[in-house]
Symmetry: C2
Amino acid sequence: MTTESSTTAPPATSELLATVGNKVRSMRKEKGMTLAKLSEITGLSQAIVSQIERGMANPSFTTLAQLAHGLDIPVGRFFIGQEQSKSPVVRRSARRNLNNVTRESVGEAVHELLTPDRDGTIEAQWISTPPGHDTSATPFTHSGEEFCYIISGRKDVYLDGVCYSLEKGDSITYPAETPHWYKNSYEEVCVAIWVNAPHKW
Amino acid sequence: MTTESSTTAPPATSELLATVGNKVRSMRKEKGMTLAKLSEITGLSQAIVSQIERGMANPSFTTLAQLAHGLDIPVGRFFIGQEQSKSPVVRRSARRNLNNVTRESVGEAVHELLTPDRDGTIEAQWISTPPGHDTSATPFTHSGEEFCYIISGRKDVYLDGVCYSLEKGDSITYPAETPHWYKNSYEEVCVAIWVNAPHKW
DNA sequence: TAACTCACATAACTATAGTGAAGATTTAGA
DNA sequence: TCTAAATCTTCACTATAGTTATGTGAGTTA
């Protein structure tokens, strides 16, 4: 066990261990498995599984991987946080404007938030892009996965320089780490929904 | 180190360790930190950080938590998988129908997939719900977070029995573990985009 | 060139994770 | 209610994670 630095103790590690342990036990019970069965499947001793479930052990990465495999889940599932959302609804009339450009503005894209805040797994925006609007000067790159659905009009989406021309009803999905930008080379306003889901636990 | 059970070896653990290690090193370098700096912040020795980065150590949960804290990221971020998408675009005319109900059908909801497949972080569906359609008999509950945007028409979304009436331009976001269902109690078809982002690593 | 500094890696030792066996508790059936 | 079986927990020991001290390599300076 490492000596905790006085400058930077991580948040309550024993709480995290207890949380993970509770998850393991509840998942095991949901699957109707005994400790013995999970022990057999994972190749871990019953003793360590019991201790982990009760938050009394500090399992190594490999042990966690074996547990995840035994429970048939991805490793990261152990670290999922429970997020409490406020009101889940965002009304058309009450959307938060993200860039101080209103619908009456000329020549600039309008960005409005469709999710209650920017803290959830999903962040969704309604974006209206006028003809000629072009973000190629400042390509975006950020974490997560991004999805776009064209409600009306057309726009060109560039992923790492590759152009995808999208029209009403089309959609596109890509890792947001890819440098991306868009352009409305057409005559009419393009309205689209953009959704980003960060890898967040 | 546990003895690997002959019945169920987890997938290549050393590969997972190497992947995590690479992530730690790249994140550290992105932040412009030396091993010494990260060691100081985390309270871990330089030696173990070096070994972890090179995939030569099997860190305990607590050690991973300290690293995450030092890099200012959630613990689960270490386990993110890199997903390679195929063509990122789904054309309106080429959407995959999810429930063998076509647009010409009467009285049933039409579900079409907007994302290239169902393996990504984000899964998006275009759903057209006719008047009177009601899923309350079979509430949904699944993992992840869910977002819905109403393109046209109206529908009522129920979260754990609480009704939210949505109309064109409204949206709603909630944890998908909440029992949820919807109902079109109105006179016209409701068209909406539904997005689910599972906690997937 | 030699000496120094910095960043990272290695080696031997200490602290702790994980085990097998035994003990304790819970459950099911008579 | 009692008993046996099933399930979970504890204990002492073994295997390994994490530490301290040292080594290595690259770059800079005099």
